[in-house]
């Protein structure tokens, strides 16, 4: 079977992290975002994955070669010269996707959840129509587009940002299609939600499958952290042995074995610590991700932040309110960073008391 992952463009919402690495390679819970999806696809027997990319294709390709071998899976780049939207990439990869006349998966690259690929396959084969969309329940549906479907799952219509309550189910960004859909899509910038799905729904060719379990679009920092919390909660249930159990841990914490944590620290709840990270004595970290190679000096306090690779955080530093630090940022001792977005290779010598971008 095959899959297409819509990686897309610049990943601007996750800057400054995406200034140093393409978004699919940014580590989410200590594993490149893309790899979460690729591994789950490999598990249900997908043998070939096409990455629809419009930016930095070469770097991605190089990084993924290693994983190809390990998973026994073929990864191909479909490089869009101009961004083709959410449907165009399917047309571009038509050759590969239609090769074996089997249903294929299409995923948004920013999704984190317990991937229900086997259920999707079963559900799709059961109704036998052209497409299945996974939907998920959200608390505030009017922020998104909602999906309206009947008891069998057949989708009736989509409503974009409804002002009155219509439904609380939204498109979760995961699909499974029969190759017939490719006839509907032209090779030009096309939105699958606006230009393809409505027609399919009208002819009764589109079905909705409800996702159980957590779901998050982790394409921006605030949601990245929320998704991280959900993922860790899920890990606690599924594979609690992966979570960290050392001194000073509170709640769900993921720590790479090569990381070093000092004495009298308080780590967690909801913390991810990457490889080669050094956390000195007396540090408190909550609801944050610390990427590879960073050092956090003693007595600092960090909450709701994403700290990039190879950063140096001084002593008695306080960081909160969704700070995002790019690669190789130095924060001097005793500073206060409130909601700062700091670009790579910056050295910060004064406090950032109100959320702002530091270039």
């Amino acid at each position: 079977m095959k899959a297409l992952i819509l990686v897309g463009g610049y990943g601007t919402r996750l800057r400054p992290l995406t200034l140093s690495a393409p978004k699919p390679l940014v580590e989410f819970c200590n594993k490149p975002m893309l790899l979460h999806q690729v591994e789950a696809l490999a598990q249900v027997g997908v043998k070939e994955i096409v990455l629809a990319v419009s930016y930095r294709a070469e770097q991605l390709e190089k990084e993924l070669k290693a994983h190809e071998k390990k998973l026994g899976i073929k990864i191909t780049m479909s490089h869009e010269e101009e961004p083709l939207g959410t449907a165009g990439p399917l047309a571009l990869a038509k050759g590969i996707l239609s090769a074996d006349n089997e249903p294929f998966f299409v995923l948004n690259s920013d999704i984190s959840c317990e991937f229900p690929f086997q259920e999707m396959l079963d559900f799709h084969k059961n109704h036998g129509k052209e497409g299945t969309i996974v939907v998920t329940k959200v608390e505030e549906p009017s922020k998104y587009g909602v999906v309206v479907y009947d008891d069998t799952g057949r989708i009736e219509r989509f409503v974009e940002k409804p002002s009155v309550f219509v439904s609380n189910k939204i498109n979760a960004g995961m699909y499974i299609f029969s190759p017939a859909i490719l006839d509907r899509i032209e090779l030009r910038p096309t939105s699958i939600e606006k230009e393809v799905f409505p027609f399919m729904a009208n002819s009764g060719q589109l079905y909705a499958m409800e996702l159980s379990g957590f779901w998050m679009d982790v394409g921006q920092p605030k949601d990245f952290l929320t998704g991280m919390c959900m993922y860790l909660t899920n890990q606690k249930q599924r594979s609690p042995e992966r979570l960290y159990n050392g001194q000073g841990v509170h709640g769900n914490v993921l720590v790479d074995p090569s990381a070093k944590i000092g004495k009298n620290c308080r780590i967690g709840p909801n913390v991810v610590i990457g490889p080669d990270v050094v956390v000195e004595d007396g540090v408190c970290i909550k609801r944050s991700t610390i990427l590879r190679g960073t050092t956090i000096k003693s007595h600092s306090w960090i909450e709701s932040s994403i700290i990039g690779w190879r950063c140096q955080i001084g002593q008695w530093v306080r960081m909160e309110n969704v700070c995002v630090l790019g690669e190789d940022v130095i924060v001097k001792d005793e500073l206060y960073i409130n909601g700062g977005r700091i670009l790579p290779h910056k050295s910060i010598g004064t406090s950032v008391t109100e959320p702002q971008i530091i270039m």
């Binding site: 004595d281 408190c284 007595h299 306090w301 008695w316 306080r318 005793e334 206060y336 008391t353």
Partner: protein
């Protein structure tokens, strides 16, 4: 024989020092480990001619004041009395009202000090100058140099460079007069009372001669405007300029500044107050003052300049001070491991829990700061590049009605929970915070 009078004001004065002055009369607030006016008294004692010191103010007698007087009298071996004004009498009215007590024992002259200043008082030099500058009855005032812009906030005087006479004196002018400013330290002879008396009688008469009947301050005589200004240019008033440090203490921020000035003075005046490294004691880096009866854990690491009274410092406490050594830690304070304190005062009985960070703040008596909490203020020190720059006492709010960033103050008994941030805030006594608090006053 000489005397000294210190004008210590009353509860209606010194309001910019709240909430700290809600607890304690401002003159008794500890700076560099001792009450503000203790430094005045210590300086007076250096001049052996001074036989008695009188405190004049409008405070009700209180335990703090009584205890201060009793202790200081004993420690410094000098007569010390407190004379309470019956109502606000102004900087000259109080002197006039208590002229009999001041003149008791027939002193040839007396010093008068404003209570709310910090200074390296040049007592001996000023007295010598006073005796030499003229033979007849005359008065001397102490002056310092300010920047042109800041001089407008003080009393400005114009000096005859040769005779050192004050030619002109005006309090807080609106346009530039002179960069020489009045320090609030004077030497008077008994003749001053005839000048003040004349003003007193005129004020009283005015009430009945078609003056303002409802004038509530008829007993109030201001030294600067009512006495000194008219005396300028009359060959009566002389000025002694000093280049030693001098600052007003109006706001809490200036208390921290004064703390630093007095601590640096200890290097020359009281080097024994500074601690030294020895094998059995705590590790000392920089200038540290430890009271002889203090108990400091030998495994503590201090690199601070501070007076410590009976402080209890736990193992591995790191109260660090890098390039700005300026910390005072009072008696009975508990400092947990991994605490960082810089440019701050921690008053008696306070507790600083593990890993917290205190910057540019005053932690009030018996307050407690939770683990990993950050208490931070904004310093408004004078420009270090200009040696005549003085500390600004700006208003509490700016033109847009927002709180001007300043030293963070925790009043008595304030409880700050762990892991929060207190920034540029003023918290009144007995408050218990539940979350972070920035740029606000908590009543």
């Amino acid at each position: 024989m000489l005397k000294a009078v210190i004008l210590i004001g009353g509860p209606q004065k010194g309001t910019r020092f709240r909430p700290l002055s809600l607890e304690l009369p401002k003159p008794l607030f500890p700076v560099a480990g001792f009450p503000i006016i203790y430094h005045h008294i210590e300086a007076c004692v250096k001049l052996p001619e001074v036989k008695e010191i009188l405190l004049i103010g409008a405070y009700q007698p209180s335990e703090a004041l009584n205890r201060f007087i009793a202790t200081t009298q004993r420690e410094l071996n000098i007569n010390l009395r407190y004379l309470q004004e019956y109502t606000t009498l102004g900087t000259a009215g109080g002197l006039y009202h208590f002229r009999d007590q001041i003149l008791a024992g027939k002193p040839s002259g007396f010093f008068v000090f404003n209570g709310d200043i910090c200074c390296d008082f040049p007592m001996v030099d000023m007295w010598n100058f006073h005796q030499q500058v003229q033979t007849g009855d005359h008065f001397t005032m102490l002056a310092a140099e300010a920047t042109r812009k800041q001089s407008l906030q003080y009393g400005c005087l114009a000096e005859n460079e040769e005779t050192h006479e004050v030619l002109h004196y005006v309090e807080k002018p609106q346009t530039f007069v002179s960069s020489s400013i009045n320090c609030g330290v004077y030497i008077f002879t008994p003749e001053i009372f005839s000048h003040i008396g004349a003003v007193f009688l005129k004020n009283q008469a005015d009430v009945f001669n078609g003056g303002d009947n409802i004038n509530p301050v008829r007993d109030c005589i201001r030294l600067e405007q009512d006495i000194l200004s008219p005396l300028a240019g009359a060959k009566k008033l002389y000025v002694f300029k000093t280049t030693r440090f001098w600052s007003q203490i109006k706001s809490a921020g200036s208390a921290i500044y004064a703390n630093r000035l007095y601590l640096s003075l200890y290097n020359s005046t009281h080097p024994e107050r500074l601690a030294h490294n020895n094998d059995n004691g705590p590790k000392i880096i920089g200038d540290v003052f430890i009271h002889p009866s203090a108990r400091v854990d030998p495994s503590a690491t201090w690199s601070i300049k501070l007076p410590v009274f009976y402080a209890v410092v736990s193992r591995c406490a790191t109260v660090l001070l890098r390039s700005c050594p300026n910390v005072t830690i009072g008696a009975g304070v508990t400092v947990g491991p991994g605490v960082r304190v810089r440019e701050s005062l921690v008053l008696e009985g306070a507790t600083l829990q593990d890993h917290c960070c205190i910057l540019h703040s005053i932690i009030g008596w018996n307050s407690s700061v939770g683990a990993w909490t950050r208490v931070e203020g904004t310093a408004n020190d004078p420009n270090p590049n200009d040696k005549h720059a003085k500390i600004d006492s700006s208003t509490l709010f700016n033109e847009e009605g927002k709180l001007n960033p300043s030293i963070t103050i925790l009043g008595r008994n304030v409880v700050i929970p762990p892991e929060v941030m207190v920034l540029n805030a003023i918290l009144l006594p007995d408050k218990e915070l539940s979350s972070s608090f920035k740029n606000q006053i908590l009543l």
